[in-house]
Symmetry: C2
Subunit: 212 residues, 2 copies
Amino acid sequence: MRRGRRPAGEDTRASIVAAAREEFAAKGYDAVSMRGVARAAGVDPGLIRHYFDGKGELFAASLVPAGADPQALAGRFAEGGIEGLGERLARTVLAVWDAPDGQVQLRLVLSGLLSADGHVQELPRYLQRTVFDQVAALLPREVAARRVGLVASQVLGVLVARHLLRLEPVASMSPDELVRSIAPTIQRYLEGVDEGLAPGPPEEQNSSHGEY
Amino acid sequence: MRRGRRPAGEDTRASIVAAAREEFAAKGYDAVSMRGVARAAGVDPGLIRHYFDGKGELFAASLVPAGADPQALAGRFAEGGIEGLGERLARTVLAVWDAPDGQVQLRLVLSGLLSADGHVQELPRYLQRTVFDQVAALLPREVAARRVGLVASQVLGVLVARHLLRLEPVASMSPDELVRSIAPTIQRYLEGVDEGLAPGPPEEQNSSHGEY
C-alpha cells in the first residue's frame, strides 16, 4: 500500500506524516532525514518539501495523533469565545492525547526536545501558528501571549503527569474528573484572574479614584 | 580528586550522585550501569548499593541539581502549613530548576522517561517519598493524592514550558511574576477549591433548594 508515487493531495500529505511519525519514533529526531521519510512514504523528496518547510515542520506535524488536526480543533474550541473556553480546551486536549496513539506522539515530542540540534524550536512556532494564535485572538493584545503561555503550562503539565510520568491518580482519573479540575485553572488564566496586575493601570499607584 | 576509594559518608554519596548525573546525561538511562558509575566515582559498586536501592533510585537522586535536597526543601516549604503553601512551593521549585544546572537535570528526567526498560517508575516513587508525602500529610487523607497530583501537573507544566520548550513568555518571565501567576492555582488545588465534588452529593440535580 505504501509503495509507489501518489498524486499530490491530502492523502499524500497524510501518508508523509504517517511515515515521518514512524521514522521519528523509531530513530529519534536527529537520525531522521527528509530523504528517509520520502523513501518510507514512497514519495519524491520534493513532494515532502511541497508540504513541509523542513524537518522541523514535518516533525511538528507528526506530533498529533493521526486524524487530529490541531488547527481545526483549536478553531472549534475557540469558536464559542472566552466563555467556557477553559472547559472546551481541556476536553479537546484530553480527548486527543488519551487516544490510543497519543502516548507515542508524546514520546516523540520529548525525543525531539532532547535532540541536540535545536530544530525543535519548530515546535513552539508550530503550536503558535496552529493553536495559540486562535486563542490569543480572543484576548486583549497586551496580555494574550502571557495568558496563553500560562494555559499551555497547565495543559502540558497534565499531559506529562498523565501520560509520561503516569503519576497517580492523575494517570487514571477520568477525562471528566480531570476537566472539572483543570478547566477552572485554564479559564482563570484566560481571564487574567490571577494576574495581580489588573485592576487598574500598572505602575500608577499614586492615582486615586473617587474620594480625593 | 575523584580517584581512589573514600570512606562512607555524605561526601561519598554526593560524589556518587555527581558521577551518576554525568553518566546519565552523557549516555542516557539505558546505557548506564551501576558498575560504570562506581568506576566514574572511584568507589566500590557495593558502596553504591549501600546508598541506593538500584539504578532507578540512583537516577532519581541525580535528577535534582547539585546541592538541592528535595526532601529537605519539601520539609521546609511544608513546615508553614497550608496557608501560603502554594507560593512557597512555587518559589522553591522555580529556584531549584532555574539554577544553572537545572536544565541538564530536566533533560535527564526526560531521557529517563523515554528509556524503554521502565525502571523510571522509580521517579514517581521517589517524588512520592521525598516530596509529595510531606505535602499530602497536610491534607485530608481521602483527597490528598488527588490534590497533590494536580499540584504536580501545574508545576511540571511550568518546568517543561519554561526550560524544555522554552515557550515565550513563560521562558523569560521573572520568578516573581511566574510565582504570582501559578501560586494561586497551586493553592486552589491544595485547598480543593475546584474539586466540584463538595459541596453536596454529585448527580442530585433534582433537589431544589428554597422555593418549592
